[in-house]
């Protein structure tokens, strides 16, 4: 499936889903095995937002697997966006905001790639990103919206955001094109072996992303029994039949946070910002070599982060449930 098509045809959407085995079956596998479910050139949507519940271990595995040419979308793009550009994993990122976070200033890695024309940063409003996924998840080709209109954010993509007139009120609103990613990468606190996932706290756009994508690769802090899921079915947020892989990865969002589990590893984020602030290209290469390609596996990376650091982040993460 070409990532260049703005809106996937309805026939394609239906055909792609119909071709998947959507029966209740176990899907537990390793990061490496899950990485094989992503093809070069796919449109990959990333769950979480900014520093939260980023499926970092999965992105890390895709870089290590030398995937290339992805189009990536996310509500807000943080550290992982730099790594995607710099590693060659993706050359186009569709998002509403792109930099590690306000406190670290503008990403110099992003600037280098975009200003030099080496990669694209396709800017949409935050709500537009959400509604594009939502339209995709609903199986409709577009979603009406009352923002973006009037701004240059819409003007520079006049072929991709178009006015449409309400047949009842006569109001002119904007039509946002549905976004149906080929793959969604989502990190959650709990899931069963079939892919029924529970999400604590901030959900961002993850449910819409799961419904919009042709398939979901789920990483999870832990795998629980299907019985546990069935005890509180109103807490399930992502249904199993959207999912193609369930990978148990404790600390799978590090150095970002996972709600109620751990806060961000600020030392890692500061270190990354310091590395890239002098020379963005050399800095990010150093980071990739050391932290992505260096360790033997994800546990090896966590070892580099350090046990005490992880425990402190965990203690702070659980604070949210203390009151």
């Amino acid at each position: 499936m070409s990532a260049e098509t703005l809106v996937k045809g309805y026939d394609t959407l239906r055909r792609e889903l119909a071709a998947r085995d959507r029966g209740l079956r176990e899907k537990v596998m390793s990061l490496d095995e899950a990485a094989r479910l992503v093809s070069d050139g796919d449109h990959v949507a990333i769950g979480g937002c900014t520093l939260s519940r980023t499926p970092m271990a999965m992105i890390w595995a895709l870089i290590r697997a030398r995937r290339t040419g992805l189009t990536v979308s996310r509500s807000i793009t943080s550290t992982e966006g730099d790594l995607i550009f710099a590693s060659g994993l993706g050359k186009k990122i569709v998002t509403s905001w792109f930099s590690q976070g306000i406190v670290w200033g503008i990403s110099k890695v992003m600037r280098h790639h975009v200003e030099k024309g080496l990669a694209e940063f396709d800017e949409w409003s935050h709500m537009a990103m959400g509604l594009r996924y939502r339209a995709g998840g609903m199986g409709i080709p577009f979603m009406p919206v009352r923002s973006m209109v009037g701004s240059d954010v819409a003007r520079i993509r006049a072929d991709e955001v178009k006015p449409v007139r309400c047949p009842f009120t006569g109001d002119e609103v904007m039509a946002l094109p549905a976004l149906n990613p080929d793959v969604a990468l989502i990190h959650v606190q709990r899931a069963d072996a079939y892919g029924n996932a529970q999400l604590d706290g901030l959900q961002f756009m993850d449910i819409d992303i799961a419904m919009a994508a042709n398939k979901v690769i789920l990483t999870t802090e832990r795998i629980v029994s299907n019985d546990q899921i069935r005890r509180a079915p109103d807490h399930t947020r992502i249904p199993f039949f959207t999912v193609e892989a369930v990978v148990e990865v404790p600390y799978g969002s590090v150095p970002h946070e996972c709600y109620g589990q751990y806060e961000p590893i600020f030392a890692q984020l500061d270190n990354y910002a310091a590395l890239t602030s002098k020379d963005p290209i050399a800095g990010v290469k150093t980071y990739l070599d050391e932290f992505v390609h260096g360790p033997k596996d994800w546990a090896g990376y966590l070892d580099m982060v350090g046990l005490e650091t992880l425990l402190t982040a965990s203690r702070r993460g659980r604070v949210i449930f203390n009151d």
Partner: protein, 260 residues
């Protein structure tokens, strides 16, 4: 760190902005706040005079309490959700703007022009920018759909005749152009800087100085602005930051993450 000498005490430009901006809020309002100064200002208002104020965050949070000393690094982290009334998907919290639930959008700004348009996307032409900025985030949605307060440093390079790129629409080309371009609601209401509080003329929608901070002259404001400012018929002077306001700001941000 710029330090301003006031009658009572000494404060930074950011502290001044946060305090002045917070005072513009009203009890009972629903405020969509960005991280940094807007969040500090809204929390200040909530604690000093507006206990029924409700803060919304882009991450999907309704009515949280911020823990002093644990300011969130963005509006998308768990620190934003502490003791909130509700957490919901980001898209749905943004839809509250479109539905009409939000009284005020409260953001920082990188670049603003005479008609209150904000740019956080490109310096230079969009096709070949000299600087690619981080982008709109929720800014475009917030400024398209509700009344805005913007808090920012008053510098000539930030207050420009015409922004290079309208990321978050203000009054667009002035007059009724905002409505004509398809935005019947909201609009830029106040711009709060370390020098003054600005509004916009009801007819032309040009930026107008409404009040000067203590010890600041209109000329000083004009000198730091890249276009000709209007001057309100009766130019007010703001009350200086009070000791309780400063104490609270410093309690919230003891590490001066956002108020240095």
């Amino acid at each position: 760190m710029t330090e301003h000498a006031a009658t009572a005490t000494v404060y930074t430009a950011s502290e001044l902005i946060a305090i002045m901006a917070g005072r513009l809020l009203t009890d009972g309002q629903i405020v969509f706040a960005g991280v940094g100064i807007p969040l500090l200002a809204a929390t200040l208002a909530q604690r000093v005079f507006a206990p029924k104020l409700t803060i919304l965050f882009e991450g999907g949070v309704i009515g949280p309490f911020i823990k002093p000393g644990e300011l969130p690094p963005s509006t998308n982290e768990q620190r934003c959700t502490r003791r909130a009334n509700m957490v919901l998907p980001s898209t749905d919290v943004l839809l509250l703007l479109q539905r009409g639930y939000v009284d005020v959008g409260f953001m920082g700004g990188a670049q603003i022009d005479r008609f209150g348009n904000l740019n956080s996307s490109f310096i230079g032409p969009a096709e070949k920018p000299s600087i690619r900025l981080p982008g709109t985030g929720g800014g475009n949605d917030i400024s398209s759909l509700t009344n805005m307060i913007v808090a920012m440093k008053h510098e000539r390079r930030r207050f420009v005749e015409r922004v290079d790129f309208v990321t978050s629409p203000g009054w667009i080309d002035g007059g009724d152009s905002r409505a004509r371009r398809g935005l019947p609601t909201g609009g830029m209401w106040r711009v709060v800087t370390d020098l003054a509080v600005m509004g916009f003329d009801a007819e032309t929608r040009e930026m107008e100085v409404l009040a000067l901070h203590p010890g600041v002259s209109f000329e000083q404001v004009q000198d730091n602005t890249g276009f000709r400012l209007r001057r309100a018929r009766e130019l007010a002077v703001t009350t200086p930051p009070q000791a309780d306001e400063l104490a609270l700001i410093r309690e919230l941000d003891p590490g001066r993450l956002y108020t240095a």
